[in-house]
Symmetry: D2
């Protein structure tokens, strides 16, 4: 057997955990190193006891040059603003690198700097970066050195609308994305916003019209439409651990039948194992994609006002983060995109 | 002390339970009788053990004439299509009656018959019925014999938009109501849709553009706007017991400042104890109104596209059902609307 | 109307919030001041938005002498080790004081110091302190200047076993208390242990045989039995916000019939409004006492091995903390113990 | 590649769903047929939309002879009292059969008939049946034609105590099993007991000292101890979908050190991949075994009274049902017990 791809992970939060969990079942890749700030010297399986018997890796401090030297591919799972040194060193050592944060997602550096409030330290790299949604940009991902893994909300919003945006079927001034997310999207750093007693039996909207994933969605919607799209984006926090359901509204530019719409989507995603366009009359729910790399899409036309309603569901930690990152890795390494990622959802 | 108002309840589901729970603390009314189909002869406090020591009422079978004869006011908490005989008898005996179901909510009988798929057996009563949102129609409620208590989703949607609809500030062709509801809205009759394991850790949209509360909202939006409004209404089921959060989108008809908007709402609801217009920058969450008759409203303008986003939160069983019904009873009986209903929410 | 009792609260966590929520409906007492460390100058109703329109109090820094000077009664809701100065000053100013923490719960200062790992700064006060379970020590509470409000687990464990311990019906070497608690018992300070994603869909035991509430239960069990009782105490954390269910095991010292057992409990708690001994064959659940000051108790004899199983349910924030504290205040002030505390539970 | 083992499943509830989910990733077996009562003719992936793209099987009505004729191995996932005809026909056709229900779990037919209230229709088969806990009875499972898959509670209780029972270290008159289960254990048939709003934010004990898993645990405890053990068994329902945590109490027959105890367990389970004996000071939680076939075990000695407390955690649908059934199938077919079953738990 040929050697497995040696994977290093920078960071030790929920997305790092998911990378390790998913890669434990990957036939062609293995996690050989994980860096940490607060768990240095601890077994990663002690930090996340679900991983006992599935990883022997011990968290280490970041020694950038040697860390990257030992790996074939690097996943960066850090808060925004911290990925540049890792990505630069990975490029310098000619290693593949996938950033799960926001630092390389924008083509226009000013948009990034305005919304994230930090100066970008490596704008010269942005041009070659590939925005890693394999179903849309798979060919480019195969050639990429640097992949910017999309945000969780954008993944659900973009996959839900790509076919109609490309087909020019929706009025790009009428786009509204109303998303409902589980709490794991808020990360593992304790705060009032992710405490059980504050979140349980509660639903709220937050950062209405000001969330940073808004411009990220707009960027890709504009690419797909070939014109500048604007949208209203409203994220909501709901009392569950995993999952994003996005309900997306847009006015149709011309009358469309349900049959035509279904055919458009099925055709668009014909070769995409992870995208499941649901039959007419069926709507997605997050449980059907729980723990998986799938995105389920349901389509409704409101005939009384010519409005399209698209509902898409993903697991925010898998297709919305770590699963999609591995899907990108697969393509960058010449593997099938599904390698190590096929798994049915969890119900109940 | 003068005698209390004698209240009878028809039905034994969650809204009946909430009526009993809330009226247990009401200084001027008391529940003297409850009818049931399946619990006849059982203590109501055995059906709902939380009520032990708060009610002595025993569920009885429905003997319409004598039941209504013993009561001063009747709450009807039955599935739609079953309220007419009770309401007719109450009117015949000159008793006040509040229907918590859908049978008397529509002024146009054909809309009711189309959406509910049943023939209305007493269309002649519809004209005098008052649609019971006290904050909007309190003067009429005070004079009413029959009040149609609004649906849970409509309550949140209508209170959230009334000020701007009345002021003509929103384009009534652009209305979208995206609502998130706890599971108690699905009632207490066991089915696959309200099983713990099917609902927990799950979010889904359902009845998109076809839910029966859609035309109910449209009816009142049209009254408020003075012109026929259409909307897209998308209900979602989320993993919690109580609460509805409605996120409502509409294009502004002219530029409005946040300050102007806040003032409009605060003014509109100045004398309404149960409506809390949140200060600029603050958004509602269902926990803040949990178990209460309050409706919290937050306001956001998306400046990049001239769209208004209103977020409103209620407890679907209280302001969305039994609490509002008691608020209506209070007005019909000449009491203060807040009588027996003041209570802070539950957090945690 | 005579003036209300002026209440001051030291602390701004969940038990402070519950005191304010419950006292908002109290006819004879009102909260006039709350101290805080981190929210000084903020409306308490901004810290807890559920309280909007139910309190006008603004959080203040602690100026001990003047704070206590303005109040008739003080609730101390601080972490252990911090209550002594407040209690001393309250005593000096001849004000009633109720400590919701652990500092005054133990008669033997060495037990406190061993289990809490701190030196007690006012052991001379311990003798006069009354351990505030009104159903057992109500007469003393009426005379008390200082009440130590019991821990949440001890409240459920003690009320569940008091009748059989007093009657000598159980072997005090065989006591096992297996308790299941909601997450609010872990407080509002963010940490890994009370994060939504760590607690949701999870159950675990913690501090087995080493939890500080163990010796507190033992102390009172010993008082009740008139001999030194030992027990094994196992707390568990379960995915809900409120509620404690304690399942308590002990070998019977002689054969007892179910009828005899029921009569013993009903007799023991005959005049206790808040204790509901459930009829034979019925078992408690936390929902039936949710948000209330009740304790529900169910009794089972395992006939095959002569073992008694008692199940008791409380709301940890009400009967397990703030509600019981107000019940104690009522007695200390010569009011009925139920004053302001009658409220049916929440289901759903 | 040699042909896969052809698996047939009788039943379409949650355990059937889990069999299909787990076998979708099994390299040596495949589900070729599923029988149903109410979903005949429907895609199984329409009944459970999480399985879309993971099974093509269509639910069929039960034609016993031909159904079994097409399969190599049969899983029976029916309510108790219904398995006998299927098992008999499987034996007649010389096929391997694993019953996930209770009909073949008891060696003494009178115990079964007393606790389940039905007459056993094939007592002559009981002797050859193997009780399928591979970690204890793996050698017999390898030779078995019929395996009785253990109950969910018994699996957790038995694995937790086997080492000390075999070693004679605990007094078998002092055994208490206090178990906490997620709601999926209550099955998928809608009823008041498994409704979201009745279970959410609630914990209760049920069937105290009368649950049918009590005698099942006693049977195996007695086998292990070599003497008749009795126990008190208390199941609890807690608000989560999956998982059982059992807290087990017993008096030690002689003083034992923690080190000795750890060594005993580690030694006993040395070759058992799915049993993870946690290091001293660490306690199990259900999340660490969520979705997996693992059983985590933690050990505590209460030094003040010589009592042992064992905590064990499983996923009730995997190690407590379908995963263990596949583990048994693996052994019956000469495969490694871990075949197709290695997967890390889910956190968050």
């Amino acid at each position: 057997m040929s050697a497995k791809i040696k994977v290093g992970i920078v960071g030790d939060g929920y997305t790092a955990e998911e990378l390790v969990r998913l890669l434990a079942g990957h036939p062609e890749a293995e996690v050989i190193a994980i860096t940490s700030l607060f768990n240095i010297g601890r077994d990663f399986a002690a930090v996340f006891p679900n991983l006992l018997r599935y990883t022997e890796v011990i968290c280490e401090s970041m020694e950038l040059t040697s860390f990257i030297g030992r790996c074939d591919a690097i996943f960066v799972a850090l808060p925004h603003g911290q990925a540049v040194p890792v990505v630069k060193e990975a490029v310098a050592q000619n290693k593949k690198v996938i950033d799960l944060g926001a630092d390389f997602r924008f083509k226009q550096v000013e948009v990034y700097e305005e919304w994230y409030g930090v100066k970008h330290e490596a704008p010269e790299l942005l041009e070659e970066v590939v925005y890693g949604i394999p179903e849309l940009y798979g060919a480019q991902v195969r050639q990429a050195r640097i992949v910017a893994n999309p945000g969780c909300y954008p993944t659900s919003a973009i996959l839900g609308m790509a076919p109609v945006l490309k087909a020019g079927l929706v009025d790009i001034r009428t786009l509204i994305v109303d998303s409902k997310s589980g709490v794991s999207g808020a990360g593992r750093t304790p705060g009032m916003h992710n405490l059980f007693c504050e979140v349980n039996e509660n639903v709220k909207a937050y950062n209405v019209a000001t969330h940073r994933h808004g411009p990220e969605i707009e960027q890709v919607y504009s690419w797909l439409a070939g014109a500048e799209a604007t949208l209203t984006f409203t994220p909501h926090l709901i009392p569950m651990s995993r999952g994003i359901l996005s309900t997306i509204y847009a006015s149709l530019t011309r009358p469309v039948t349900q049959t035509e719409l279904q055919a458009l989507y099925e055709d668009f995603y014909r070769d995409c194992f992870f995208i499941r366009v649901l039959p007419e009359g069926q709507l997605p729910m997050t449980r059907a994609v729980y723990t998986t790399n799938h995105c389920d899409i349901g389509l409704v036309i409101d005939p009384r006002n010519g409005r399209l309603v698209v509902v898409s569901a993903i697991d925010n930690l898998v297709k919305g983060a770590s699963g999609q990152a591995i899907q990108n890795l697969n393509l960058m390494c010449g593997l099938k995109e599904t390698c190590g990622l096929k798994a049915a959802g969890l119900l109940p």
